[in-house]
């Protein structure tokens, strides 16, 4: 008797690859100059300090050399990129205000349903400006602020100025400088002291127009004893030429605050995704980065936590999937600057069809940071012989009283595992899917249900054609 076979539900992936013809309301010409920076600031009617901040960042960007490590960046032509574009000039207060074209796009992505079901708020970014934003009433009543970063600059100028650019100064790296010069959109989150936000705050970003760089800027401030979970997901249409996405995300977790930041990155395979993400964790605070990268041509992203106060904790989970033509240069950084701080870093990467995954991590223990405990674990799975996996962990210890361990393994799917699953009636590709999904499960199980489903679908999509 033939072994029974089961069909996994087939998915329609066309919704991940589409492009709408939008008439852009405001666009400034391609290319980057001081004039571009001034125009962006003028269009947004920004205060002078922000213009000066942008100009300072631009000047540093021009001076700063391109990184000579990581992925191949030489194909990026900064003069072929449009640095500002907005689909509507005003943020939509309600769903009705959002332009129809934009709405259709988001419907394909399933956002309205997501909101109806269990998400606390929706901040969706269509190209360079937040076009739709809603925060549920009770959150507003608790004093939670969740809005587009541009709006926050207008509505909460003092709060904004106090924290903006304090975690990641423009001089941090070339792409942080670029973002600081031309940033547009992103989310601003403020959680007052002691406030616990039970449901995740969600934001969706997309790059739509060909060659539009997206330079969103997110700032999260969690006051003492507060708690928040922020989720961002990215999908983008497929284009033939390069796009650039260079975001900056700053998180400030005050004393005892808990912040979790989840990212599902699925940019189309022509996007350069060069992102700086960093959190400051004050005494007793707990910061978690859950970061999954399945899309883009090249991702260079190392979510980091600076443990500034005694007893602060960091947990970073990084998952990467690199298929044909992709390079996921991802990792994590934990910088221990205070006593009795702990960090756990877990990295899981899968490479296939000539894809390349790189884990690049930093673990630093500064002088005086006694009683530090840190563990790093990296596992890489290689599906075929054309793929490549690299691991570059940096461990810098300036303090005797520290316990640091790092472990890594690289391997392939074992024939025994495949054989076992096939003997239970699974087809080879189903068995491989299952093994890969199991490999990244420690990430998936932390996601809200809808995201977990979408993530599993994405992994299955990536795994298509792995057999035979």
């Amino acid at each position: 008797m033939a072994a029974p076979t089961r069909d996994l539900p087939s998915e329609d992936y066309s919704r991940y690859a589409f492009k709408d013809d939008i008439v852009y309301a405001t666009t400034i010409p391609k290319g980057l100059s001081e004039e571009t920076v001034r125009s962006i600031s003028a269009i947004k009617k920004e205060p002078e300090w922000m213009l000066n901040f942008r100009l300072r960042a631009y000047r540093h960007f021009v001076k700063r050399a391109m990184p000579n490590w990581g992925g191949v960046l030489s194909n990026i032509d900064f003069n072929q990129i449009t640095y500002y574009m907005s689909a509507s000039k005003k943020e939509g207060k309600t769903w009705d205000d959002v332009p129809d074209k934009v709405k259709q796009t988001f419907e394909k992505l399933g956002i309205p349903e997501a909101e109806r079901k269990f998400l606390a708020g929706v901040g969706t970014q269509y190209d360079s400006e937040v076009v739709y934003h809603s925060v549920r009433k009770e959150l507003t009543e608790k004093g939670v602020v969740f809005m587009g970063t541009d709006t926050a600059l207008r509505e909460y100028p003092e709060l904004f100025k106090k924290y903006f650019g304090t975690v990641i100064p423009p001089e941090d790296n070339k792409f942080a400088a670029l973002n600081s010069a031309v940033w547009s959109g992103g989310s601003f989150v403020y959680i007052p002291p002691g406030v616990v936000v039970d449901q995740p705050l969600q934001a969706y970003f997309r790059i739509n127009a060909e060659q539009v760089g997206q330079f969103e800027r997110t700032l999260i401030i969690a006051e003492e004893g507060s708690r928040v979970h922020y989720i961002e997901g990215c999908t983008a249409p497929v284009y033939a030429t390069e796009s650039l996405h260079s975001a900056v995300v700053e998180v400030i977790a005050k004393k005892g605050a808990q912040v979790r930041y989840t990212t599902l990155q699925n940019w189309s395979k022509d996007v350069y995704n060069l992102v700086t993400k960093r959190a400051h964790a004050h005494a007793g605070a707990n910061v978690e980065w859950l970061d999954a990268n399945t899309g883009s041509r090249l991702t260079m992203k190392y979510p980091s936590v600076y443990l500034l106060g005694e007893g602060a904790k960091a947990e970073i989970v990084s998952v990467a999937f690199a298929g044909n033509g992709q390079h996921q240069d991802a990792g994590a950084k934990a910088v221990h600057l205070a006593k009795n701080t702990t960090s756990h870093i877990t990295s899981k990467s899968v490479s296939k069809d000539g894809g390349r995954t790189t884990y690049r991590g930093l673990l630093k223990v500064a002088k005086g940071a006694t009683g530090v405990k840190s563990t790093v674990r990296c596992d890489a799975l290689m599906i075929d012989d054309r793929s490549r996996s690299d691991t570059y962990p940096y461990i810098e210890i300036d303090e005797e009283d520290a316990a640091i361990t790092h472990e890594a393994t690289v391997g392939k799917i074992s024939d025994e595992m495949l054989f076992y699953l096939q003997s239970r009636g699974l087809k080879e590709n189903e068995a491989m899917n299952l093994i890969v999904l199991g490999f990244v499960e420690m990430f998936t199980k932390e996601l809200p249900m809808e995201y977990a489903l979408e993530f599993n679908r994405l992994i299955r999509l990536e795994m298509e054609g792995s057999v035979g």
């Binding site: 000579n68 490590w69 223990v365 002088k367 890489a380 290689m382 599906i383 075929d384 012989d385 054309r386 793929s387 490549r388 996996s389 690299d390 691991t391 570059y392 962990p393 940096y394 461990i395 810098e396 210890i397 300036d398 303090e399 005797e400 009283d401 520290a402 316990a403 640091i404 361990t405 790092h406 472990e407 890594a408 393994t409 690289v410 391997g411 392939k412």
Partner: protein, 427 residues
């Protein structure tokens, strides 16, 4: 990245040293000097924030003189060696081969002697062998070596007793460079023991470049224990190319010097080739160690096992950098890279970077591990409760930490020397 000013690295120096040699020698020296000048201190962008260049007294020294001609083979010192060589301040001071080894066809020669007497062999060995050109200081040694030795072990000869090389420094304020060239033909086996010592306490520089070819089914066990004086800048480069079913085994100990920059790179070229690489560092006072251990897998089913352990006292610094590269041709590789540091004082510093670059999924195992730790006070307490004084307990724990590396050294004499050096660090 800090540059390192090496004032004695000059064309005239290379020209002076090449005088009387065949023209290709000067060409090779100048080519190496050019590569030295054009190669950054750290060739890999991965490590260039983690290179230690300070602490070496290179600006206070001059290039050592042209070596006087090496002596003929002399009598073998006691100790039961197959062969014995002594290099003093870059010049070969003595050479000896046991009768048994000579009858078996073992050739031990100074490089200067080989250039004069066996020019074809010298050219073949001096120009081949380099498996990794990227190390700046290897190029410096190739440009400015005063002399060195060639050990040629013919096919099938299995040396029963070890070959001993002593590298000694006597002259202050000089930079001495020596090359060590080892070739094991098919089926040969040899154990090589290299020791470093200074009889002076003055600024100086010592470079040693070792190039080994391990033929099909040959086996080389290379142990080296370095204990140069406290003001010496030490530049070590060791490379091995291992062919089919060949086996290389490095047992390396780094104890002396102001700054030790060491790079060991094994290329597993042949199918079923193997390397075992163990390295120990014990730093004290303001000593600095910049240690790189690289393995490249190219042959099928090659195995590598790399383990580095560093114990650091006082203000010493230790950077241990490793890279295992599995080439896309290196199917079914089995590799392990472990890097561990034990910090014994508040001021001690360590950086560990155990890297992996893997270009094929056909991997049996590719694993690395690193840990930075301090002495476990529970262990000290336990030993104290057994009547061991706390200071002795700490020493025992450090010895225990370094032991997995030390026990790989085949020579009892060398193991005893390592234990003596560890003991001396507590003084």
């Amino acid at each position: 990245m800090a540059e390192l000013v090496v004032p004695f690295a000059r064309r005239e120096g290379a020209e002076g040293l090449a005088k009387g040699s065949p023209p290709w020698v000067l060409e090779a020296r100048l080519a190496a000097l050019h590569r030295f000048e054009t190669t950054p201190v750290e060739s890999s962008p991965l490590f260039n924030k983690h290179v230690i260049t300070d602490g070496a007294p290179v600006t206070l020294v001059d290039l050592g003189p042209v070596a006087s001609p090496a002596p003929e083979l002399g009598t073998l010192p006691a100790g039961g060696f197959s062969a014995h060589a002594r290099i003093v301040d870059g010049a070969v001071a003595s050479l000896a081969v046991s009768e048994e080894a000579r009858e078996g066809g073992l050739v031990l020669s100074s490089i200067s002697g080989a250039l004069a007497g066996k020019p074809r062999l010298a050219e073949e060995l001096l120009t081949a062998g380099a498996t990794d050109q990227a190390d700046k200081f290897f190029q410096l040694t190739r440009a400015l070596f005063q002399d060195g030795i060639i050990l040629d072990v013919p096919a099938g000869l299995k040396l029963k007793a070890p070959v001993r090389l002593e590298v000694v420094q006597r002259a202050p304020k000089l930079a001495s460079f020596a090359r060590v060239i080892v070739r094991l033909a098919e089926g040969a086996s040899a154990e090589f023991l290299e020791s470093h010592a200074s009889s002076i306490d003055a600024p100086s520089v010592q470079g040693i470049g070792c190039e080994a070819q391990v033929g099909d089914e040959a086996s080389l066990h290379y142990s080296a224990v370095g204990n140069f004086g406290p003001q010496v800048g030490v530049f070590l480069n060791r490379q091995a190319a291992v062919l089919r079913r060949g086996k290389a085994h490095w047992s390396l100990g780094n104890f002396g010097g102001a700054l030790t920059k060491s790079l060991t790179h094994t290329k597993l070229l042949g199918n079923d080739s193997r390397v075992k690489h163990t390295e120990v560092v014990f730093g004290a006072q303001a000593q600095k160690f910049d240690i790189s251990s690289f393995v490249t897998h190219i042959g099928h089913r090659a195995q590598s096992d790399v383990l580095a352990r560093a114990a650091l006292r006082h203000k010493s610094r230790g950077n241990v950098k490793g890279m295992i590269t599995i080439d896309h041709k290196g199917l079914n590789a089995d590799s392990y890279l472990g890097q561990f540091a034990l910090l014994l004082d508040r001021e001690a510093k360590s950086v560990a970077i155990p890297g992996l670059e893997i270009e094929t999924a056909q991997v049996v195992r590719a694993k690395h591990a690193a840990a930075v730790q301090q002495i476990d006070e529970n262990q000290v307490f336990y030993l104290q409760s057994r009547g061991v004084p706390p200071e002795t307990a700490r020493r025992l724990i450090v010895e225990g930490f370094l032991n997995p590396v030390i026990e790989g050294i085949s020579s009892e004499e060398f193991r005893a020397e390592v234990h003596r050096l560890i003991e001396a660090k507590w003084g």
